[in-house]
Symmetry: C2
C-alpha cells in the first residue's frame, strides 16, 4: 500500500531530484496511473549527475510535463550541500546533519504547489522519509500535515474547496523498504543518483551519508546494488 | 502601532518587491531598528521597473544584505502577471483577480524562510494586505497563521525552539492608510513602483488594478501623489 491508488487518472506533481527516493515515487505514481507532472529544482547542488538522472527518468516515464526550475539556494548559504563546508564522511550521526539545507522541503513543496495550481493538480508527491532522515525537520509527518493545512488556505483552488494532498509514500519505509518498493515497481535503480560528493570521474563516492544509506538499503533488502561506487 | 517594535536590534528578512507596500514595510522595519535583510524575487514579471526600484530602496535603507533571487514562476503559467493574458483595465472586480499568481506568497515566504534560517533570523516581514487585495487567498490572516505554524515545524531553528514570526504590518490598512504610514516613516514614495503594465516610455499606465489602487490611496490619504501616470 502506497496510498497512491487515488491518483489513478489524476494529474500529480512529483518532486523528482533524480535520487533513489524521488525516482521510486515517480515509479509508484506511474504504476498508480497518475498523469505525471515532474518538477526538478536545480538548486546549484554539487551533483549535477543527479539532475541528469532526473531528466533521464522523466523521459523514461513519459511524463506529460517536466519542469526543471533553476533556484539557487546556494545564494543563501547554510548547508554542506550548497556551501563549501566539507561533506561528512564518517557516518550518520545524531541530531540535524550539516547537509540539511535550510527550509529546503518548504521551498520545494511551495514551488510544487504553484506548479500544481497552474496545472490543475491537487496532488503533490514527495520522497521524504522519516526514518533514515530523522535528523531533518522537514522530513517529518508534522511538517507534511502543516504544509497540507497551509495549501488549503494559500491557493485559489483551496479557497474554492479543493483539498490539496501531500503524498509521501516512502515516509515510514527504511532504505531497504524503499529498495524493495522500487524493485517491485520495476524501477531501473541504476538510473538514479544518490551521492553528495561524486568522484572526478563521475562515480558515487561510497562514503558520504547518502552513499552509506544507499549501500545499506540494498544490502538489507538483499537486492543486487547496480551502483558504481568508488569506495 | 505596526507591531514591529520587537524587531529592534534583530535581523529581519523583508520581502521587497519595489512596490509601495513592500517599500513601506522596509521603511517601517528600518524605523523599528531592525537589522535589515532584503529579499527580492525576480519572477520574470513584466515590470522590471519594480525590480530597479527594489535595488534603489535597498541601497537607500543600507540593508545588511540584499538578495535578488531569480525564480521564474512564468515557467508554470496561470496568471496575467506572468502569462500573456491581458492585464485587466476596467477596475477592481469581485472574486479572485486574474492577476493572482498561483501560490505566489507561499513560494515567497518559503524562500524568505530559507534565507532567514541561513541568516539566523526568525522574523519575516511581508507587505500583504487583506483589504485592497481581498481577492487573493494568500493575502489573508489565515494564510499567514498557517505559514507561521508551518515554519515552526519546517526548520532546524523551529525544532530547536525558535518561534518564527511573519509580520504583516499593512494587513489591515487601506491603501490610504499605507500611504499615510509610508509618509510618517519618511519613505520617498516616488522611489516605488506599482504598475503591472508600464508604458513603452517607462511610466505608470494609470489604468491597471495596481495603478488604480495607488491613485486612490494617495487621493484618500490627501497626500500629493509623486507618480508619473500615463493616464
Amino acid at each position: 500500500m502506497t496510498g497512491l491508488e487515488a491518483l489513478a487518472g489524476r494529474p500529480a506533481v512529483v518532486l523528482l531530484s533524480g535520487g533513489l527516493d524521488s525516482a521510486t515515487c515517480l515509479a509508484l505514481a506511474s504504476r498508480a496511473g497518475a498523469r505525471l507532472v515532474a518538477l526538478t529544482i536545480d538548486y546549484n547542488q554539487r551533483h549535477a549527475r543527479e539532475l541528469e538522472a532526473a531528466v533521464r527518468l522523466a523521459a523514461r516515464y513519459r511524463v506529460e510535463r517536466h519542469v526543471v526550475l533553476p533556484l539557487n539556494l546556494r545564494a543563501f548559504g547554510g548547508s554542506a550541500l550548497t556551501d563549501d563546508l566539507a561533506v561528512p564522511k564518517e557516518g550518520v550521526g545524531p541530531g540535524i546533519p550539516v547537509t540539511y539545507v535550510p527550509a529546503r522541503n518548504t521551498v520545494f513543496l511551495a514551488v510544487a504547489l504553484a506548479l500544481a495550481e497552474a496545472s490543475g493538480a491537487s496532488d503533490l508527491v514527495i520522497g521524504v522519509n522519516a526514518l533514515d532522515y530523522s535528523g531533518y525537520p522537514d522530513c517529518r509527518p508534522a511538517f507534511l500535515e502543516a504544509f497540507e493545512a497551509l495549501a488549503s488556505v494559500a491557493t485559489r483552488a483551496g479557497v474554492e474547496g479543493v483539498r490539496f494532498r501531500v503524498h509521501a509514500p516512502l515516509l515510514h519505509l527504511t532504505k531497504a523498504g524503499i529498495v524493495r518498493a522500487a524493485a517491485e515497481a520495476g524501477l531501473d535503480m541504476g538510473c538514479t543518483w544518490s551521492c553528495y560528493d561524486p568522484t572526478p570521474d563521475g562515480r558515487h563516492c561510497g562514503r558520504c551519508d547518502s552513499c552509506r544509506l544507499r549501500k545499506k538499503g540494498f544490502a538489507e533488502a538483499g537486492r543486487p546494488d547496480p551502483t558504481d561506487y568508488a569506495a
